[in-house]
Every structure is written in C-alpha cells, then in structure tokens.
Symmetry: D4
Subunit: 251 residues, 8 copies
C-alpha cells in the first residue's frame, strides 16, 4: 500500500464513502505484509551507489565471457561505475566489444569503466611486499581509484630489506588508510601498523610454495599481528580491501 | 501501531477530530518502521512452541547455575516445556530449588520439565554405537520425547559386531526417522541408512582418542557416507538431532 | 532354498518319498546359510524403488562415457527412473545415443530419464545464495523432481542483501522441507531455519576462493548453525540433499 | 647527539674553540649512527597517545598479578589512560591496591583507568550474536569507550531470529563504524554489512563446541563474507576490534 | 526355529498330523526372520576367545571405577582372560577389591588377569624409541603376553643414536612380528622394517610437543614410511598393536 | 677384509712370514671399518628376494617412461620378479619394447613380470567397497599374486548394502589375511574385522569429493576403527597392503 | 645532508657567514630525516654479495620467460653470480639467448652463471633419501657451489636400507655442514644428525602421495626430530638450505 | 673381540697352539657380528661431549622429580655438564638435594651444572619479540652458555615497534649466529635476517591465542620467511636452537 493509496483510503474514510471496518482490515493487512523492500533496504543499496561511487562488482571467477559481458553492459546502462574482477583476456574481449570505453588492467585482471563519483577525503596507500603480490595490490588500488580515492602505491617494500619500507614513512603517513598486501610470512602489515596511526587493511596472498599452503601462512601471520590497527580480509581479496579502504576514506 | 490504535485513528478521521494529513503521516511512518515482530516472525516462534511442543532450550554450557535457574523459571512461568542441555549437578540443584517438578537426566546432563504438547505421528528411533556414546544419544532421545515423540532406543549396536544392528531391523523399520549416534570411525549411520528408507540424522560424538581428533574422524565419515538419506549435525549435538527428528515426525 | 523348493520338500516328506533325516539336514543348512538377500534386504531396495520413485543413481565422476552409458541403459531397461550425476558433455552424448528419451541438464551436469513414481505430499523448496551455487542447487532440484516432488526454486537470495530472502517468506513456508545451498560463509541456512519450522537440509558448496578452502568454511558454518532444524550433507552434494528432502516429503 | 649538543658544537666552531675537522667528524658519525628513536618513531608513539587517547594496553594473559600491577602503576604514573585485558580477579585485586581509582569490568575481564582523551567524531556500534559472545563484545566496547568514543551496544541479535537485527537498523545506521562479534557460524557480520555502508570489523569468538574448533568456523565464515566492507581480527580479539574502530572514528 | 523344532515339524508332516501348508508357512517365516546370531556370528566371537586366548577388553577411558570393576568381575566369572586398558589407580583399587588375583601394570596403566590360552607360534618383539614411549609399548607387550605370546622388549632404541637399534638386529630377527612404538618424528618403524622381513605394526605416540600435534607428526611419518611391511594403528593404541601382533603370531 | 684374506694372513702369521704386530694392526682396523654391508644387511635383502619371491618394486610416479623401462630391464636381468606401480600407458609401451614377456594390468596401472617364487601358506582376500576403489584393490591383489599368494577378490561389497559383505562370510573366513580397500567414509574394514579373526590391512582410497579431502576421511575412519585387528596403510597404497599381506601369509 | 655539505656548513658557521641558529636547525632536521639507506643497510647487501659470492637469486615461479631473461641480464651486467630457481625449459631458452655463457641444470631446474667468489672453508655435504628427492637436493648443491663451496653429494641413502647411509659416515664427517633432503616420512635428518656433530639443515620435499600431504608429513617429522642439531626450511626449498649451508661454511 | 683378544689369538696361531682354521672361524664371526658400538658411534658421542662441552640433556617433560634427580646425578657423576629442560619447582628441589652445586633458572625452567668446556669462537645472539617469549629465549641462551658460548641477549624487540630491533644492529652484527624467538605472527626472524649475513635460527613460540593455534602461525611464518638464512626448529624448542647455534659457533 503506497502513501498515495493510504491518502485515498483516509479521504474515503473521512468522507464516509468507505466503511471504517473495511479500511481497518486493509491497513492491518498492509502492515503485516509490508514488503521488506519498502523498508529502505533497496534504497540503501541505491544510496550507497550514488553517494560513494560504489561500483557494482562482477566476480569474473566461474562465469563465461558472454555472461560477464551482458552483466557488464546492464550495469553500464544504469550509469554506474563498473568493476569486473578476476577477468581473463577472453572476458575482456567480450566486454570490450559491448563497452568500447571500458579499460582492462592486465596485472590486476580487472575491467573498469569509470564514472564521476564522490571523492574520498584523503589518500589510500597500497603497499605490497614482493613483485608477485602486485596483481592483488593492483586489484585493491584500481578498486579504490574507481570508488573515487587518490591512491599512493608503494610496491616491493617487503620486510627482508627493512630499509625499503622505512624509507616510505612519509608517504605512509600521508594516507588516511593503508592496504598492505603480502604473501609468504605476511609480516609487512605488522611493521607498517607499528609506523603509523591509521587503520591497516591486511591482504594475504597465495604467493609462496610448500608450507605457505596457498596463503594460509600469511593469513595466520596477519590475524596474529602484534601491532594495533590491523584487520584482515580473505586471501587474494584485493577488491575487498580496496572497498573497505574507500569506505573509511569517505567517512 | 497496533490494530486497536489503527481503529481509533480511523474513527478519529471519520469523525473529523483528527486531520487527514496527520493521520496519513502516522500511518506511513508506521508502515516504514513496522517492527519485524509484527510481520509474523515472533508469531512463528509462538506458533511453533504451541503447535509442536517445541521447548525453549537453554544451552547450559558457560552459564552459572544461578543464570540457568532464573532463565528456566522464566520459561516455565510461560507454561512452555523446558529443556536445559549440558547441565551439571550444580545447575540441576539450582533449577530444582526453583522448579521442584523438573527432572534431571544424569547421563544426558539434561534438565526437563514436561508439558502437554502435540504428538508426533510415528516413532523416532535413536541408535548408538558404543556405551560411551549413550550420553549424546540420551540427549537426542530426551529432546525428542519432550517434543512429543515416542522414542525407540537401540544402544550398543556398533558395526564391529554387525549382527547387533542387523537384529534390530524390525525396530528400525518401525520408525519414521532415525537418529544415529557414533564416535570413533562413525560408520553406523551408513549401515543403518542402507537398511531402511527413512531419513537418518547422524550425530558424530567426541568419543575416541588420538586420530579421532575430538570427533572429526566420525564427522568426516558421516559426511562422506556412501548411503542415501544421511544428513549430519555438529559433534555431540544430540539436542539438534532430536529436534530435527521431531520436526520430521510432526510433518 | 526358495518357498517353492520348501513346498516340494514338505510334500516329499509327507508322501514318504524323502527321508525325514535328509529333509532335516537340508532345512537346517538352509537356515544357517540363508542368503541375506532372502532376509528382505534386497526387497527393501526394490520396495523403495517402486514405492518412492527412487531412481538408481550413477555417480558419473571417474567413469568413462561408455561405462556410464551401459549402466544407464541397464537401469532404463528395468523400467526405473534414471539419474546420472556429475555427467559431462561426452557422457551425455554416449547416453543419448542409447537412450534417446533421456534429458541432459547442463547446469546441474545431470542426465535424467523420468518415470511414473509416487508423488511426495507437499513441495520441496530449494534456495541458493549466489549464482555460482546454482549448479549444485539444480542437482538437488532435479533429483527431487525425478523422485516425484514439486520443487520451488528460490535462487540468488544470499544474506548480504537480507531483504531478498525475507521477501520469500511465504514461498518458504509453503514447503514441507527446504534445501539451502550456499558457498563462501554458508550463512543462509541459519537465516532460513530461523524463519520456518520445517527441516532444513544445508548443502555447502565449493564456491569461493582463498580461506573458503573448497567449501570447508561453508561446511563448518552450517554444522555450527545457531538455528534449530539444520542438518548438513557433504560439500557440493546436491543429489544427497534432494534425496533426503524427497524421503521427508514422502513420509 | 642531542639538539643541545649540536648547538654547543656549533658555538664552539663559530668561536674557533673547536677545529672544524673534528666537528665535521663528530657530526658525520652522529648522522650515520642516528639512533632510530630520534627519527620520530618514539614520538609517533607519544603523539598517538596524547592525540587519540590511545591507552597503553597490558595483555594480562600469562602475567602474574604482581607483574600486571606494577606495569599498570607505571602507566598510570605517566598520566595515560590504562587498559588491562584478560585480567582475572586476582589481577584486579593487585591493581586495585595500587590504583584505587581504577575500574574492573567483570564480564570483559578488563581493568580500566580513564583519562581525558580526544573524542571520536561519531559513534561506534558493537553488535553481538549470542549471550556467550558478550564478554568479547564488552572488551571491544570498553576499549572504544576508553579511547574516547561513544558506544552503541546491540547484544543478542544473532541471525537465527533475523528480525532481531533488522529491528536495529536505525541504531546501526547511526554509527560510523560497527564491530560485530559472533561465534558458532559467524554469520552476523555478513548480514550487518549488507544493511549499512560503513566499515564492519568482525570478531570471531571461541563460543561453540565440536566443529566450531575454538572459533575457526566463525573465523572462516567471516573471512569468506559475501558482503562488502567486512574485515576480520583474531578470535576473541575484542580489544583489537575496539582499537581499530576507534582509529576509524577519530579520522 | 531350532534344529529340534524342525525335526518335530517334519515328523508331524510325515505323520500327517500337521498340514503341509501350515508347515510351509512356518518354515518360510523362519527362513526370513533367521536371527543373525544363529548364522554363526556369535559363535565366531566365542570361538576366537577360546582358541586364541583373546581377552575381553575394557577401555577404562571415561568409565567410573565402579563400572570398570563390575564389568571386570563379570568377565572373570566367565573364565576368560581380562584386560582393562587406560586404568588409573582408583580403577585398580576397585577391581582389586573384587578380583584379588588380578595384576596392575602401573606404566601401562593396565589391569590383567591371566588364564591358560593357546600359545602363539613364535615371539612378538616390541621396540620403542624413547623412554616416554614406554607406557604405550608396555600396553602392547602386556596385551600380547596375555594373549599367549612370548614378548621380546627392545626399549630406548630411537634413531638419533642409530647404533642402538642396529645392535638389536638378532633379537629383531628372532620375532615373527614386530610392534614399533615411537613419538616425535616416528622414524623408527621405517628403520626396523628395512632390517627385517616380518610385518611391522607401527604405533605413533602422543609424546612430543609443539609441532608434534599430539602424535600427528609421528602418525604421518609412519603412514608415509618408505619401507615395505609397515602398517599403522591409532595414536597411543598399544592395545590394538599388541592384539594384531598376537593374531599374526597365532596364524 | 674377506674370509680368504684373513686365512692368508693367519697362514702368514703361523708361518712367521708376517709379524704379529702388523697382522694385529690390520685385523683391528678391519674390525673397526667393517663395511656395514658385510654385516648381513645386503644379504637380508637378497635372502628376502629369493625366499619370499619379493619383487623389486618401481614406483612409476614421477619417472619418465625411459627411466622406468631401463630400471625394469635391469631387474628382469637379475631373474627377479618385477612390479612397476603407477605406470601409465606410455610407461607400459616403453617396458613392453624391452621386456615382451611383461604384462600390463590397466585398472591397477601396474606392470608385472612373474617368476617362480615361494608360495604363501593360505589365501589373501582383497575386498573393496565401491567400483571406484577397484584400481587400488587390484594393485593390492596383483602385488600379492606376484609374491606367490592365492588371492580371493571380493569387490563392490560396501556397507551401504550390508547384505553384500555378509554374503561373503565364508570366502572371508577362508583367508589367512584380508586387505580391505575403501574410500568415502572407510567403514568396510570395521565391519569385516568384526566378522573374522585374522588380521585386516585397511587401505583408504582417495575416492570421494568434498569433505573426503582426498582420502583423509577414510584414513581417519580406519585409524579409529572400533574393531580389533585393523591396521592401516597410506591412502591409495594398494602395493603396501598387498606386500604386508604376503609377508603375513608367508609366515 | 652529505659529508661535503656538512663541511661547507661548518665553514660558514666558523666564518660567521651563516647564523648558528639556522645551521642548528638544518643539522637537527638532517638528523631527524636521515634516510635509513645511509645507515648502512644497502651497504650490507653490497658487502654480502662481494664478500661471500652471494648470488642475486630470481625465483622463476610465476614469471614469464621474458621477465626472467631481462632480470637475469641485468644481474649479469653487474658482474654478480646469477641463480634462477624453478626455471623451466622456456625460461632457459630465453636466458640462454641473452646470456650464452649461462648454464642450465635440468634436474634442479636452475640456471646459473658462475663468478669468482670467496671460497667456503670446508665442504658442504648434500644427502638425499630417494631418487625423486634429487631435484631438490641438486638445487641445494648448485646453490652452494655457486656461492663458493665444495659440495659432497650423497644421494639415494634413505633409511629403509639403513646400511646405505651408515656406509657414508666418513664422507658425512668430512663436511662442516650437511643438507639433508627427504620426502615421505622425512626420517633421514634424524639419523644423520645422530651420526655427526655438525649442523644439519633439513629440507622436506613434496615427494610422496596420500597422507604425505605435499610434504607436510616430512616437514613435521623434521621439526620433531629427536636428534640434536637439526633445523628445517620450507618444503622443496633447496635454495634456502644451500644458502644457509654456505653462510655457515663461510664463517 | 677386543684388540687384546686378537693379539692373544694371533700369538697362539704363531706359536701353533691354536689351529688356523679355528682362529679363522673366530675372526670371521667377530667381523660379521662386530657390535656397532665398536665401530666408533659411541666414541663419536663421547668425542662430542668432551670436545664441544655438549651437555647431556634431560627433557624434564613427563618425568617424575625422582627420575630426573637420579638421571641428573648420574650425569654429574661422569663429570659432564648437565642441562635439565622443562623442569618445574619440584624437579629442582629433587635435583638440588642431590647436587647442591646445580643452578635453577626459573624463567627458562632449566637446571644447569656448569663444567669447563671448549669455548665457541664468537658470540651467539638471542633476540626475542615479546616479554612472553622470554622463557623460550632464556632456554636457548642458557643452553648456549652451558655449551661454552658468549651470549648477547636482545629482548623485547618485536616488529610492531620496528625501531627497537633497528637500534640493535651493531649488537646483532657482533654475533656469529643469531637465535630469534617470536610468537604470534613470527615476523622477527625475517627482519633480523635481512639486517645481517650470519645464519638465523628461528624459534616459534606458543605465545598468542585464537588463530595462533599454539604456535602454528609463527611456525608457518618462519618457514615461509622471505629472507635468506633462516632455518626453523620446533615450537618452543629453545634448547634445540641454542644447541644448533653452539654447533655453528664451535666450527
């Protein structure tokens, strides 16, 4: 029952053209059955998209190029920014054919289509330990950029040569939130969090072999960080980290 | 806004003692903010309790005897059946002082207070492999009984002496649903499910040592059952199994 | 020794054409060696197939197309419904050549051949969280349909947008048993079980990456469900869940 | 070489009472050996403490009451806010004897001593699933309060009765960051994150039994959350979550 | 239906005092319902006990002293050898009061009561790596002795001083089957199996700390043995190994 | 120093052609440096091969066809029986070219070349649960046959249809040792061991999916067997089981 | 601020051409901001490379042939020794085209380019258990050789034939440090460490199947070694072990 | 056969008082049966003890105070240094009563009795991350000291305040080998190994909670270290690390 329908009903009651008992029954039924969507949930989704520049995200993993392309076209048609993660070359070809203005980020395996979105208040820093961690770091960086954030990239600053990250102290301190990406022992987030006083989002990667167990070693290292301010997302989840960083930077 | 309040509001609108615009505002707000409980969820809970004899359950684990006793008294005060699981002697003393009519089931470590509830349509069978599995089996059996089911107990029928369970075929076939409780290798549910054509709810127990890993071996065995009709609940979760069995038996 | 053979023997004894001692020896031996199949087990299998429409199921995993096709043809020859799970395109081609009336369900990777079977009493609902969970959900749905159940499909109702499942309350309540399929964190069964009072069969899927560990995260989530009425089957075991749901719906 | 020592050296050079070559040698050596502490790191620590009201935290686990009390007295002596986590009754007695103005929070097992600290900009919400999760939730809430944040507590809003959390939508939306505490299947953070557009810090708890594996099930569930905006801290790490939430709320 | 009953029935048929049809019905029913016990299974149990001296074993774990004592007395009453494993001092006191002729083996935590049993054909060797492994080794040795085997004990012959086991080659070669007990890395069975050509039963123990994970390291080491002839039982399962060794030695 | 050399030396000492002191030095040195091979270890290897018909085994996994073929030819050249496990079609072609009298067992992926070897005393039974377990069962059976044992095969006797294994009781009892192969929940060895009184060698297979974890579920089930007489080998290690069974059967 | 700049500043102070206060400010700022690199860290790296012959190592895993080749050429251009690990045939072709003097070690999958480097003081022994462990052993050996060490190779000396390693005692004792490579149960390091009194670096390999879990069994075995002097590196990390052995041998 | 016995035999042969054939038989038998201890292994043990000051170590875990004391007295009686690890107060009292000159190290839970032993060539550094790691670090330090090494202790230098370890660069560089002890994420060894060019022995500790899993997180972090020169020992194995460090320092 829409606000307009309620108004009409009330007018009828006031005018005596509709029995009170019947109006009562209709209103009680409407209250009971109130579709949840009307309670604001769908609006939250919409609100978020327009205020924060939150793109609609397509996880490319396990979808065919055709499926990805048609979803992407639908999103672009609504005027929203677009992000496809875990997109391979074939997916990119399919999307490119429908959306020539989209871009492909090969290292990050991401397809984007930028739109004007609200800007974050400061910068998001993205640091990564080794060169093999860069694809995940780029997924985080591209996600944050698409959502309206300035991104400072600090790559190849792993703890085995501790001077590399120490040299970047000023750039780290310039950020409002820092995404730290590392595989193997996953020690970089602890070191970074000890140098700054902003939140650190740690992303373990599946980089490594043997007892790295596809990223478990790095994940456990980060969950057990002895430094304050470190929270963790799933292994290789650059998108998730970029998204949280953007949320924080838009506060 | 309760049905009575809506009736008063409509009367006021009809009588002209309340402006339509104000009534409209109040009704739209009520619709938007409709407490979910009014949408039927709380009623579902209530409905379930009165129709199925579903007791309100208190997980005794990690609560003090005083806390358990006061919750139990509150439930009993509403006229509902009562079930406290994982209740030790001290909890029982505390509950007994407030509710003299309650019963304590030592093996199952459960406190119950029976009420008249709707009866299930057939019997629930509860089978267990070894004597050490009996406490969990009893938790399932007592739960099912409290919820209004006839329970057939088949204890100490583990697969190492296969003739023991084979002898019970008729009693197994007399049930509408079977709870099978086993630790160690957890093989009994597969054998039982191969003998009957009703659903089998498998309960792994933490009985065993070494590579039983506190019930993981039995849990994995049951999840990988080669027989049709086996679903599984958490380790030592006799209550959960008894509850599902009762749901099925009340269909 | 078949009933007919016993009759002949008794006739011979009565007529005196066979010595009592010899007949005695033969009967005692028959009792001792009574093939178990004669004790009713094989009949149970047969009974189940004819009364419930229980198909003979072929797990396609690890069989060659030729093996699958010849088993399928044998089953169809007995007039039973047929279900091949985990069947790829090649298996389908081989089966199709022998059984032109069989059907292939691409998403569920299942081959079916329907027969007249006893109908379940109500509906089986199959809900799934994400689009990637649909193949497993379809395996469950097709299994249940083949076994004579009406199936209500509720796809893409994951908990990240909680209003999606809330909107489906009525359709959920219309079912006698609900199969809930989810990967990643596997939270949907808890939410669904809190909304209804019928049994929920939870199916974890291997959908996800990183710390989903091929479905372990979802499996553990479901086993630890805080809601009553949830039991769990193996990862990706849509068939198992559909089969249990059908058993319950035929009670 | 302190700033004062440099000044004296420069005066000597200017006055000609110290040879330039010798002064040069001393300065170059000082530069090379510059103790890292002078480079600002220790100051960062100090800066953080005075600007954010960041308390010095003592992890009580594995320390004797005497050790805890003497560390606590030292911190209080510096005028900083104090937080002792995982403090049992004995530790509290020892601290109380030295610091009569300290407070003990029994559920959270935390000792605090408040000081005037900079206030966060909005509110921190702390939601928890079950009553057994409250100690961890309280650790988070008390941490955030001590660091200068208004805290909104939403307890016992687990997903098995989904209407409980839905009812709290307005209070959730009033927060700038939300800490969500849950054991068992750990599904609450996904549901909350789908309802709001602020960061969610998820805290798995060791509440549960059997296949909860001391919190692993909840941890995995949270890491695999299908909702955007969820990052995770260690099992039972209420302090860590409260600390990150405060950092975000002070941005 | 017993052989005697069948004889009477046949006599009646022959004499015409019982209708063939009725006799037919009775015999078919008897065949169908043949209690499994009559098929020889229970006899197997009995046969084993009397031929091999196989004791009836009571797993003391999780039973009260009174329960253990009454079961033990019942077994002794049947004239069978008795073995109680995992029996603490209190259990021993309770058994001793009822069965003064029983013995307690403190290291092995086992209670035994010997009987005349068939002797094994050769010797069983029991080797253990470290002094902490001796309780499990003793459980194996006592089990084998009680079952009628000569036992050769070779203790403290771990691989870190490889000359210790090499010196025992002759005694190892004198055995028909060898039980090898080891914790930590569990390497001893591989070395022993490479020195002899009889079966080796490997028993991992929970001796160790840290990454021994309560015996998992030793268990995995033994399962992956590069030597031929090694099979493995559960962690700390000295009884199981002794029992298998006796079976082999009685062949 | 060979026996002949010692004889010459002693002759020289007796004849006085060699100084005692020098002979003493030579003998003491020889004792100290005694090559281990001379102590009988290598002979043990040889002894085993000739007395038991123990083949020299080549694990084909991770070797090129050429490597396998040349090793196989070398073994055959010594007149020993040959067994290549995990051999694919290409390996077979390469071996066949050099050893035309060798045989290929496709299901077991094994190449054999038989020789006259000592016969075992009784039969080895090999039972397997499902059709997918047959390759591993065949590896065990072929290994045992090659080592001189009569093998009784009992395939497709899994516990989901318990009558199948019960029907085979006589054939099981005819064996001196039983290899039981099963994947999924791995329950068959417990049932078999409860039916017989000879040793059971359990072989878990990697057959299954999801929570079977590549055979871990079956492995744990077998290690936790509640039946006496079960020992376990590595996942899919048919060869190992066949080899142990042969050892036992040759005692 | 470079030494020269400090000298100029001091001259200006002495000459009175620069105010002391300003010079003071500049020096204090320089001290605070002293780039960490000036503190000697980068020099350490350089020093190590030239003194120890420490090669710059390229982990080939996850890099394209072109990437590997261009990095390799850059390293070679600096005159340093070169080591590319985990290099396949394609990578070798690409490197060979740019650096014709490089060598490819097929078994070790390593590319090297030797340079004159400081020699270690003694020998490094590399022992391996089975033939399948040789690739990892070769990676260790080649690493050590490239870093200036004499390497003694002892391959195929696994514990199943214990005489093989015992025969090598003298060669083992000739080394200053021993790398021991083993898969499956990983027992060889314990045996070797019990025979010598020099450090043993244990390398678990992923050789094995089933419950070897890709090297976990061997890893755990080595971590739990009962022998003194054993430390462990990651699974298959031959490079790491060779590198540590060289460090020790250069002390 | 001892050297003296050989001399007598040779004299008898030379004198003709013993037949050559009989002497031959005796010598060949002696060679074959040469007890391994005579081959030098026991001497190696002795050699190690006297040359390196290697103490005989008693692992106190799982031994009674009386057992520990009598073993300790026996060792001290041989004049060797003594080390008892994992010794509680009761063990210390028992040892102290017999060996008044022994010392107890409360934090390290170690009992020592020093003797004159060969000195290592340089210093051993022992660094630890947090105060809770000190007991394990002390076990390493005391072990190294007892074995004749100068020990440099660097405690509380964890990576969360990276300046703490950076300040200690000179002291780290002064050591020939460094033991690094850390719990939680275990990142310190990577940072240290990147700062020096000597071997780093990493010791994970069980310090932490939740997802530290009793030291597994730290263990995995160290095994996956991205820095060169790190090898790892078992969780909490301070003794093992101190022992290896001493071996290296005595080279």
């Amino acid at each position: 029952m829409s606000p307009d329908e309620i108004r009409i009903l009330l007018d009828q009651v006031r005018e005596g053209t509709r029995p009170t008992a019947e109006a009562h029954r209709a209103l009680v039924a409407a209250l009971r059955a109130a579709p949840l969507g009307d309670l604001g949930f769908a609006k939250v989704d919409h609100h978020r998209a327009t205020r924060q520049g939150f793109p609609e995200v397509v996880l490319g993993l396990g979808k065919t190029p055709d499926q990805i392309a048609s979803i992407a076209a639908a999103i672009a048609g609504r005027g929203h920014p677009l992000l496809v993660t875990r997109a391979d070359e074939a997916a990119w070809q399919a999307v490119h054919a429908l959306l020539p203005e989209a871009e492909y980020h090969q290292q990050a395996r991401a397809i984007t289509l930028k739109r004007e979105v609200p800007r974050g208040r400061g910068a998001v820093a993205v640091a990564s330990a080794g060169t093999s961690d860069i694809p995940v770091a780029e997924e985080a960086a591209i996600t944050a950029e698409l959502m309206g954030n300035d991104v400072v990239r600090l790559y190849d600053v792993g703890v085995a040569g501790i001077h590399r990250i120490l040299r970047e102290r000023e750039r780290l301190e310039s950020a409002r939130v820092i995404v730290v990406v590392a595989g193997m022992e996953g020690a970089l987030p602890s070191v970074v969090a000890g140098m700054v006083d902003v939140p650190v989002i740690a992303v373990p990667t599946s980089v490594g072999y043997g007892a790295s167990f596809g990223g478990i070693a790095a994940l456990l290292g980060m969950l057990n960080s002895c430094a304050n301010g470190v929270s963790v997302v799933n292994i290789d989840n650059g998108f998730g980290a970029g998204c949280i960083a953007s949320m924080i930077n838009h506060l």
